[in-house]
């Protein structure tokens, strides 16, 4: 409980900063900012975008997950990997490649499309895993009672995977609220874009931070909504012992190849467009693409800080996740929810809050890799907490009790029982955080040690002066390196194993 509290405190540094700065700004300034009609406008648009993208991701994610887990779709393992792959594409790269592929591609629906294509794996991965784990017997019973495939799906399967859908949808919604890259390039005025613009417009910190506070309020709304839906969805578990049987796939018949074609099209839009565009840009322009050692250094730095960020984030997430899964209660749930609060904040706010924290509190850490990893932890804690909580379910408390009763000390029990069982889930969480750290830009720019470049900052450096060809190798490498952890994530669904494997 203490460890979990400490972890949440770290995640709350940005909120503390916001509170301090907002109070400093004083009521008149806050009122001026908030009474501006554009605030309501921005809030409405941000929420609408979050709603549309979340709905899109749920449809796409659940649909794809259903196809690869429950049907005789050809090349299911390939499609599983393809569906996870968009996670490797930062939204700013995706948006940029779309804009340069289609003239006039901008606005609300353009942003919605790009964000949906980039974020649907957040829903696909947990849902595919849940579908894979769900007990086929329940569905068979439903079918035997005369329910059709669709009714069975909605009345039996869906309730079982609802927690997975809700979790993924929440991450998508929070991500959309915090995204800056895509909406900036596609010119959609959302809250986060307004926050960035407030900084650009003559260093208007007060305005930016007041807006961010509103963003936190929106997040609270979202979290409340998700909590409600969670309360309605009880816990579902398989009853009884014995080995799990594989699902017998539904026959798609005439729809088999059209379904495959549809998934191919989604993959082509989500991953193919950026990849093709980057390849073309690599081949085109003549700007100095940076010497090989520079690229290697940037890649090395990216890997280092992202690994560090993932490690620290997981370390902080472990107590919260375990607590939320093991000792569900108002306090544990509250702590878990709190860790989500900062997730919708723009990276620049997190960055500035840690500048504030570093300068005033932890000066020896300022502009060190440590503070940067702290920022990553504050930004991405929810991803990790969700993973740990999910993983903890794989190691029910009764196993630990049995182990302790056999005379092993708690530490030994953790090492020999809890850890081996939860490790795959924790690894998947780490992969997700690592991937997200690789793509993070605004906080990295503010907090990196002076003189250190990562792939993301190099990419920013080059695109900001129109040196697109020079940016392309960094972008390509970023996507390529990020694709590796997506493999871990795809494998986590359990769908990559040979059928019949134990």
């Amino acid at each position: 409980m203490l460890a979990a509290t400490v972890a949440v405190v770290v995640a709350l540094i940005p909120l503390a900063y916001l509170a301090i700065r907002t109070v400093e700004a004083g009521w008149p300034a806050i009122r001026t900012e908030l009474t501006n009609p554009r605030v309501a406008d921005l809030a409405a648009r941000s929420l609408a975008l979050a709603a549309v993208v979340t709905a899109g991701c749920v449809a796409l994610g659940v649909g794809t997950a259903f196809l690869v887990t429950r049907t005789d779709l050809p090349a299911r393992r390939l499609f599983t990997i393809l569906a996870a792959l968009p996670l490797a594409v930062p939204t700013y790269i995706a948006a940029f490649t779309w804009v340069s592929t289609i003239t006039g591609f901008e606005g609300f629906w353009a942003s919605a499309l790009v964000l949906t294509l980039c974020s649907y794996p957040y829903v696909f991965l947990p849902v595919a895993a849940a579908l894979h784990r769900a007990d086929p017997a329940q569905e068979e019973v439903s079918r035997s009672l005369g329910r059709g495939a669709w009714t069975t799906f909605t009345s039996v399967t869906l309730p079982q995977i609802r927690p997975a859908i809700a979790g993924g949808a929440l991450l998508v919604a929070l991500y959309v609220l915090s995204d800056f890259g895509a909406v900036a390039i596609l010119r959609t005025d959302t809250f986060t874009r307004a926050v960035f613009i407030a900084f650009d417009l003559g260093f208007d910190r007060t305005g930016a931070l007041v807006l961010s506070t509103v963003l936190v309020a929106l997040t609270v709304l979202l979290l409340a909504g998700e909590t409600l839906s969670r309360r309605r969805g009880a816990r579902y578990a398989r009853v009884g012992a014995g080995a799990r049987r594989p699902h017998s796939p539904a026959r798609l018949r005439a729809l088999r190849w059209p379904a495959a074609a549809a998934l191919t099209a989604v993959a082509a839009l989500a991953f193919g467009v950026p990849a093709a565009n980057l390849a073309r840009r690599l081949a085109a322009g003549v700007s100095r693409p940076g010497s090989l050692p520079e690229i290697a250094t940037a890649a090395g730095n990216s890997l280092t800080v992202s690994l560090g960020g993932a490690a620290l984030t997981m370390l902080l997430a472990l107590p919260i996740g375990l607590l939320a899964a093991r000792a569900p209660g108002v306090l544990a749930n509250g702590l878990e929810r709190l860790s989500y609060l900062t997730h919708a904040l723009p990276g620049i706010v997190i960055g500035l809050s840690l500048v504030f924290f570093g300068i005033n509190v932890a000066y020896p850490l300022y502009q060190s890799v440590w503070l940067l990893t702290f920022a990553y932890a504050a930004l991405f804690l929810p991803l990790a907490v969700a993973a740990v909580a999910g993983a903890a379910a794989q190691a029910p408390p009764v196993l630990e009790e049995a182990a302790r009763s056999l005379g092993r000390r708690p530490a030994a029990v953790f090492a020999t029982v809890t850890l081996p069982l939860t490790l795959p889930g924790i690894a998947a969480g780490a992969a997700m955080v690592f991937l997200t750290c690789m793509k993070e830009l605004p906080a990295t720019l503010l907090l990196r040690p002076t003189g250190m470049d990562t792939l993301a900052t190099e990419l920013w450096t080059h695109t900001s002066v129109a040196a697109y060809a020079g940016a392309a190798p960094y972008a390509a490498l970023l996507v390529l390196l990020s694709a590796i952890p997506t493999w871990v994530l795809a494998a986590r669904t359990g769908l990559l194993q040979q059928e019949g494997d134990q």
Binding site: G240, A241, G242, A403, R404, L406, G407, V413, T416
Partner: protein, 351 residues
């Protein structure tokens, strides 16, 4: 010396007193069943003994050593108490042999103890299997072997057979008792199944509302239950109002000697316990005149015996058990009732 001794154990969850002063002694080498309906506190008792929960008050000693008391709480792993949870709780990532060897030190693991206990539970040669390759019953056997392996002071079995089907259950019960005996282990079995408790245990402790209401051999608990509730809980019981006078009980279906004999002079109102096997049925037309008669409602045939449910003229329903081969009475037929043997009676509150 007793392997386990519990005195005045108390534990509350908010307003609910799960343990309201439990005292219990388990002699070394015996198998004691804690029997009670769900919610009686038996699982809390087990978790307190295992050290998974802390007592509010009272003491628990294992092998004469205090493990829980006012100022003592020995952690689970230092109590030498092995747990067999409801569904086995095998470690899914470890093989059968590794599961069984989990509580052993390295030397013991190589000493052949694993194979020995696997043989005890009838799973010779299963060491390399993974838990998910086993049936439910096999998983339970492994869970028992795992608990036996480190030769703990005490093994706690938490409704270990409840998830299994009836056929498997009977076999497994027998084998579990045999394995426990063969290894000289002391065990506490928590269950709500009276058949299980009576057939397996050396002694049965009946729990109700956080208290042990009776403790004794299966026979004594069955034959001389402490009160009508225990009587009904440990077996099928016919409870009738009656009057006790000079060693005999007067009931609506006749009189019978009371055990133990009470030296009461004045007639006392009592509740009389008659087990179904104490009721003899004969066809009404062949009965002695003046015998109480009833109508047969239904017959439940169990092969080795038959349970016949009858209704008295005043509407009271009774069950009588007769062994196979005894006279058959079809539904609707008139029978005469007769009480065999001595009966048990408890004074009844007036009003």
């Amino acid at each position: 010396m007793s392997a386990l001794s519990i005195s005045d154990a108390e534990k509350a969850w908010g307003d609910v007193r799960a343990l309201a002063g439990v005292s219990l002694t388990v002699p070394t080498g015996s198998l004691v069943a804690v029997l009670g309906p769900s919610g009686c506190g038996k699982t809390t008792l087990l978790r307190c003994v295992a050290g998974l929960e802390r007592l509010d008050a009272g003491r628990i000693a294992v092998d004469g050593r205090d493990v829980a008391g006012p100022r003592t709480h020995v952690p689970t792993h230092r109590r030498r108490i092995a747990l067999v949870p409801q569904e086995g709780a095998l470690f899914p990532h470890l093989s059968v042999a590794d599961n069984v060897g989990y509580g052993l030190d390295r030397a013991t693991r190589r000493s052949g103890r694993i194979a020995e206990v696997l043989a005890l539970v009838g799973l010779d040669g299963y060491g390399d299997r993974m838990p998910h390759q086993l049936s439910g019953g096999q998983q339970q056997r492994v869970a028992l072997a795992r608990a036996l392996a480190p030769r703990p002071s005490l093994i706690l079995l938490d409704e270990p057979f409840s998830a299994l089907d009836a056929g498997l259950r009977a076999d497994l019960r027998r084998d579990v008792r045999a394995a426990l005996r063969a290894d000289g282990a002391t065990a506490v079995l928590v269950t709500h199944d009276q058949g299980e408790a009576l057939s397996l245990a050396d002694e049965v402790a009946v729990m109700r509302d956080g208290r042990v209401v009776q403790m004794g051999t299966p026979t004594s608990v069955y034959r001389t239950p402490a009160d009508p509730w225990v009587a009904a809980f440990v077996g099928e019981a016919v409870l009738l109002p009656g009057t006790a006078h000079q060693g005999r009980a007067q009931t609506p279906i006749g009189t019978a000697p009371i055990l133990p004999t009470a030296a009461d002079e004045a007639p006392t109102p009592v509740t009389v316990l008659i087990r179904p096997e104490q009721l003899d049925l004969t066809a009404a037309h062949r009965a002695a005149p003046g015998a109480v008669t009833a109508t047969v409602l239904r017959r439940d045939f169990h092969g080795h015996d038959t349970l016949t449910v009858v209704r008295l003229a005043d509407g009271t329903e009774l069950a009588a058990r007769s062994l196979d081969g005894a006279e058959h009475h079809g539904p609707g037929s008139e029978v005469a009732l007769k009480i065999r043997d001595t009966v048990l009676a408890w004074p009844r509150q007036r009003g």
